[in-house]
């Protein structure tokens, strides 16, 4: 049977047969999934689905502080543990597994956490039906080989997984920081499909020394496509069809385009629209369920602002976000969450955290800090960084910490960000 999953970082390979055996095994499962090994994330996810249990995905690197924020601790997590009986007879083949998932797709729930506006992550529940809305199962997909370049517990990661899984495609995991290794694996494994953020591609490109002719589909999502890298991508991946996707945790994958400009397809005209203030709105019918999602007459305001490219107002590009969120290489970071931690540190009088445009990551996080009394800046910076690292995931740590005497103010008296 085909290779299912290769992880060059943990140095193992699983075939679809291995995966089937692992699914059938008796085990102690849990609706909450917090696993360092992405293979286990998907194993547990499919186990939960086959046991008709919901799944709640937690990032492997969430700190205790972050778990506290969402009201979770070991005791709460254990409440959703359950024992799986031997399912050998029930799950004899992937055909039966796919049939069962298809039959239950409207009832199976997957919950993920996404950045909340108040600093507290919000939980979004999606049905499996919604998650796999754009998954294609066709003859043409059978020979695809996928490179997995997203966080497995985030929406984009789920979509890549299901697209590959439902076609029994091989997947190679390359969501880690050794870019040379990542590209070597893409090359040696003859990857045909790569879905990643534009930032991921920017980090990979220095290692693409010769033209790659095996990749036939390149999909970018999570942040605005950087047109500056388009020429080099088309030169180095001459056989690849380039696709840009606009998606959100709240609504899943919504729009796709072959360039920077997006158009709302006619079939979605009742589900997606642009407000008079040029904000993209999504209808309730396309949303997952969350108590913290605020709706206005059935529409969710995404906070993503667009600019039209034509007079007829059909094609648009995404400009920036209305909210304070900062997109760092595809991760949405809430500066308030970082700010509130820095403000609690000894001798910090005040702090402001904001995004600043950057050619490497799209944006970087900058923290400006005012101290109550002078002290050694290097030591203080180290202390702030250590405290942030203890409390936050890596991608939320500011790239720049500056000590200032006053925050710069705008003409309206707001702190200039």
């Amino acid at each position: 049977m085909n290779i299912f999953w290769k992880n060059p970082y943990l140095n193992y390979t699983k075939t679809y047969h291995d995966f089937l055996l692992d699914l059938q095994k008796e085990s102690l499962n849990n609706s909450y999934i917090q696993e360092k090994d992405p293979y286990k994330v998907f194993l547990c996810l499919i186990k939960n689905a086959l046991n008709n249990k919901k799944t709640i995905l937690l990032d492997a690197d969430l700190s205790n502080t972050e778990l506290d924020e969402i009201g979770l601790n070991e005791k709460e997590i254990q409440k959703l543990a359950y024992k799986q009986e031997d399912l050998t007879s029930k799950l004899s083949s992937f055909k039966t597994i796919f049939a069962q998932l298809d039959q239950e797709k409207e009832n199976l729930i997957i919950e993920i956490y996404t950045s909340g506006t108040t600093g507290r992550p919000k939980k979004i529940a999606q049905t499996l039906k919604n998650v796999i809305r754009h998954v294609k199962q066709t003859e043409k997909c059978h020979d695809n080989v996928w490179a997995f370049a997203y966080n497995p517990t985030h929406f984009a990661g789920l979509q890549v997984f299901f697209q590959a899984f439902f076609n029994l495609n091989s997947i190679i995991y390359i969501f880690d920081k050794d870019w040379k290794l990542n590209y070597n694996e893409i090359k040696n494994f003859n990857v045909t499909n790569l879905s990643c953020t534009p930032t991921y591609m920017k980090m990979l490109l220095p290692y693409v020394k010769e033209k790659n002719t095996t990749i036939k589909n390149l999909t970018f999502g999570g942040e605005r496509f950087d047109v500056k890298i388009e020429n080099i991508i088309t030169e180095m991946f001459p056989k690849a069809r380039i696709n840009n996707v606009y998606a959100s945790s709240e609504a899943g994958s919504l729009l796709s385009s072959s360039g920077e400009g997006f158009t709302i397809p006619n079939r979605y005209s009742n589900n997606i629209k642009i407000s008079e203030e040029n904000e993209l709105l999504v209808n309730q019918s396309f949303l997952g369920h969350s108590k913290s999602l605020e709706l206005n007459n059935g529409w969710y305001y995404t906070g993503d602002l667009v600019e039209y490219l034509d007079k007829e107002k059909t094609t648009f590009v995404f400009k920036n976000r209305k909210t304070d969120f900062v997109n760092i290489g595809g991760y949405k970071v809430n500066p308030n969450e970082i700010e509130s931690i820095i403000k609690k540190i000894d001798n910090v009088e005040d702090a402001v955290v904001f995004g600043r445009k950057n050619s490497v990551l799209g944006n970087v996080i900058v923290a400006q800090v005012i101290l109550l009394v002078e002290e050694d800046k290097r030591e203080k910076k180290k202390q702030i960084l250590n405290i942030l690292k203890e409390n936050l995931q890596d991608w939320k740590i500011p790239q720049l910490i500056k000590f200032v005497n006053n925050f710069e103010l705008t003409r309206t008296g707001k702190v200039k960000k």
């Binding site: 950057n358 050619s359 970087v364 960084l385 790239q399």
Partner: protein, 75 residues
Amino acid sequence: MEEKIKEFINDILADNDKEVKNISNTDNLRDVVGLTSFDLAALTVMIEDEFDVDVFENQMVFTVSEITEVIKKES
């Protein structure tokens, strides 16, 4: 200019509890020095504040020498 850039790089390494290195002008910043995408982003901002040039904006740069070339060309 090279020394200033190396100072920035070592500040970034120190902030991340990584070993401060004697960096040569031709060391590959990703493979040899071990800078991550987050580190490179921080370096870009520090260089931009000091020299008013975004070195990664229009090209891929790999070494301190290449960074100084871009700064000389664009400033």
